[in-house]
């Protein structure tokens, strides 16, 4: 099963390497990983999306906890939480399709953040299903480039463990 794990770490040299080498060294999957400082510049939060059966997920959280620079590990999958991801999609629609691309962008509450004579770059934020749905809708118009931030997630207040 797929899990979203939030890892609070010391903002120290080499922390990212420690975490990624833990995953690669033990053969765990990383579907996505995003990192950023928290409100306290001495710490960062990494949001890791990974897959595995219960035994593997238990090992992953324990192994993460074992790292000296890891302060706290929360498996958000077990609590009510909000998750978001942002993507930037560069589409190259034919002249006739341009309006449709703009209309769909609007429906998905996206924004066109750049345009050129042949392309639009669209920014979409949302959970995974929304993003996947938008990507599928854009595919027929010709996606030239596509970047995603990886998921970030936060527990809903009152549900925090």
């Amino acid at each position: 099963m797929r899990h979203t794990i939030s890892v609070l770490v010391e903002n120290k040299f080499g922390v990212l390497a420690r975490i990624s080498s833990l995953f690669s060294g033990r053969g765990y999957n990383i579907e996505s990983l995003s990192v950023g400082e928290t409100i306290d510049p001495k710490t960062s939060i990494m949001t890791i999306v990974t897959t595995g059966d219960d035994r593997i997920i238990e090992q992953i959280t324990k192994q993460l906890n074992k790292l000296i620079d890891v302060i706290k590990v929360t498996d958000l999958t077990e609590v009510d939480h909000v998750e978001r991801e942002m993507v930037l999609i560069k589409v190259a629609p034919k002249q006739d399709d341009k309006a449709e691309v703009l209309r769909l962008t609007e429906i998905f509450r996206g924004r066109v953040v750049d345009s050129s004579p042949k392309t639009y770059t669209v920014e979409i934020t949302g959970d995974e299903s929304k993003i996947n749905a938008f990507v599928e809708l854009m595919r027929p118009f010709g996606i030239k480039e596509f970047v995603r931030t990886g998921k970030i997630a936060i527990a809903r207040e009152g549900f925090k463990k």
Binding site: V9, E10, F13, G14, A17, R18, S21, G25, R55, E58, Q59, K62, Q63, N65, K66, L67, I68, D69, V70, I71
Partner: protein, 578 residues
């Protein structure tokens, strides 16, 4: 007062109680070496290879319980420590390695003798550091020792750029270490301990399996109390040998691939395993799906990742072996005094029967020396009062089977990594800590050659380490697998050229002795034990055909043991490829 980084290193090591450093110099650590030149309290043992230095520090740590310390230079000096670090890491041994590094402004430039040792050793240390500012140095060293020696112990490396050892700062040594991401849990959960006690009271066929964790947490007394109170027999993993007296009537010896028949049978028939400070390594469990099929499992370990990693667990207890065992004994004493022995009468009788049916055994021969015989004689002639290290291979298994360890910290062996070349420098480290004890490396002819250069170190520092080579001219354990599982195709396991170890010893200024017949074995050992001021190499020319039994083939269940030679196979003409 301001101190240089090098002065801070020395001061911090002293405050940590360090007396000996194992090391090897080079350009970027000369600031530190210069201070050692006339230091009266800190003694550096100059090994002949950095790998030897780390194994020596590891042996020192295993024998004493105190952290072993290493000082090496950057680049090749640092990379030479990797095998030693990985060895210590797998066996949870507290070792602190200080490695020199190129000056901070050159890091990343592929400077002369630069290696990203923090990157290289990340997966084989408990933690590691690159110190970029002399102001962080004292705190970092303090943290390193704290991390190495607490919780589940392990090696820590500190990388020290040359300029950091030169820079000056106000010296401040923090009394207390606070690391918000590191809080080992020592006390076991009370409710879980009650559950465990409940299972122990009910069990009719229980066994305890003790691992290296019992030794690192100095919990032998508590383990013995538990076993004697409840009359539960004790199995010890390779790493746990010595945690409980090997000569005790309740001892069942070692389990696993080359474990005793009765230990493996006991596990397979048991209705309860009380596992303490061991991690269910595949060499211990055999085929995992058939491991201990009838048993409930209580697992006590300080490292939560060890629990439920390999086997299902009914009662997990995260905590320090010493405290959990103490609490468990207290809990068991509280409950009404049961007829512990009576409940297990049938079980203890069954175990006695298995012990009698298939003890560790070999066939003595008048003409050729059996390797097991050498180990037995070493045991008898030292009366077991020795620190034994081993290399890896058949020698290691025979040492584990035929030497009986009654005390913790007397058996030094590379269990997790299985590092050939470990035993001799480890013995040297133990001898540095205990100059007057008998320290013997039970060695193979292949393994000994991997760190044979440390003879020079032993001669220099008058360390009377004894090396007992079970010389079979083969990478014997490899040969055994090839004989049993590869149709006797001895592919590159024959050591065509084995040096004359007696002459090698003499060339280094050590004593060399040889026995080629069983009748010579005692004389050689007695002669060796007399030597108190230099190393001794005993070259025992043993039967190369001998194999280690019992054997659970890789992937088989624990009770699928090969107990010994089926029948004398007809001697085939064998061809060894070299």
């Amino acid at each position: 007062m301001k101190k240089t980084g090098a002065e801070i290193v020395i001061e911090c090591l002293k405050r940590e109680g360090v007396k000996h450093i194992f090391g090897y110099p080079g350009g970027v650590v000369l600031n530190i070496f210069d201070l050692l030149y006339d230091d009266k309290d800190l003694k550096l043992i100059l090994t002949r290879h950095e790998q030897g230095a780390v194994h020596a520090a590891d042996g020192y740590a295993r024998a004493t319980g105190k952290p072993g310390v290493v000082l090496v230079t950057s680049g090749p000096g640092a990379t030479n420590t990797v095998t030693g670090l990985a060895t210590a890491n797998m066996d949870s041994i507290p070792v602190v390695v200080l490695s020199g590094q190129v000056p901070t402004k050159l890091i990343g430039n592929d400077a002369f003798q630069e290696a990203d040792i923090v990157g290289i050793t990340r997966p084989c240390t408990k933690h590691n550091y690159l110190v970029k500012d002399v102001a962080d140095l004292a705190r970092t060293i303090r943290e390193a020792f704290y991390i190495a020696t607490t919780g589940r112990p392990g090696p820590v490396l500190i990388d020290l750029p040359k300029d950091v050892t030169n820079d000056k700062t106000n010296f401040h040594w923090p009394e207390k270490v606070t690391l918000r991401g590191y809080n080992p849990k020592y006390e076991g959960n009370k409710w879980m301990i009650k559950q465990a006690a409940g299972l122990i009271q009910k069990a009719k066929r229980p066994v305890i399996i003790a691992g290296g964790g019992v030794i690192s947490s100095n919990a032998s007394k508590e383990l013995r109390e538990l076993a004697e109170l409840t009359r539960i027999p004790v199995i010890m993993t390779l790493m746990g040998l010595g945690a409980f007296p090997g000569t005790h009537e309740l001892s069942l010896g070692m389990p696993g691939m080359h474990g005793s028949y009765y230990a493996n049978k006991a596990i397979q028939e048991a209705d309860l395993l009380v596992s303490v400070g061991m991690r269910f390594d595949d060499r211990v469990t055999g085929r995992i799906s058939d491991f201990a099929p009838h048993a409930k499992i209580v697992h006590i370990d300080i490292d939560p990742t060890s629990i439920r990693k390999n086997v299902r667990v009914d009662v997990p207890i995260v905590g320090d072996a010493k405290r959990v065992l103490r609490d468990l004994v207290q809990e068991l004493k509280k409950s009404e005094k049961k007829q512990w022995e009576a409940v297990k009468k049938a079980w203890l009788k069954q175990l006695e029967k298995w012990k009698k049916e298939h003890p560790y055994s070999y066939e003595f021969d008048e003409e050729v020396i059996k390797p097991q015989y050498v180990v037995e004689r070493l045991y008898d002639l030292t009366k077991g009062d020795a620190i034994i290290s081993t290399e890896v291979g058949q020698n290691q298994m025979w040492a584990a089977q035929f030497f009986k360890f009654d005390k913790p910290r007397t058996f030094l062996t590379s269990g997790g990594l299985g590092t050939m070349g470990y035993g001799f420098p480890a013995a040297m480290g133990a001898q540095v800590a205990f100059p007057n004890k008998t320290v013997i490396d039970i060695a193979g002819d292949g393994s000994f050659q991997m760190n044979i250069q440390e003879l020079a170190t032993c001669v220099t520092y008058k360390l009377p380490v004894k090396v007992a080579i079970l010389n079979n001219m083969y990478l014997g354990m490899v040969r055994q697998w090839q004989e049993l599982f590869y149709g006797e195709r001895y592919s590159y396991s024959y050591l065509d050229v084995v040096p004359d170890f007696v002459k090698v010893a003499e060339a280094y200024g050590a004593v060399g002795l040889r026995a080629t017949k069983p009748s010579e074995v005692d004389d050689v050992i007695k002669e060796a034990l007399k030597v108190k001021d230099k190393p001794v190499v005993m070259d025992f020319i043993v039967d190369w055909k001998e194999k280690v039994y019992p054997m659970v083939p890789a992937g088989a269940a624990l009770d699928e043991m090969i107990l010994g030679e089926e029948k004398k196979k007809k001697e085939k003409k064998l061809r060894a490829v070299k």
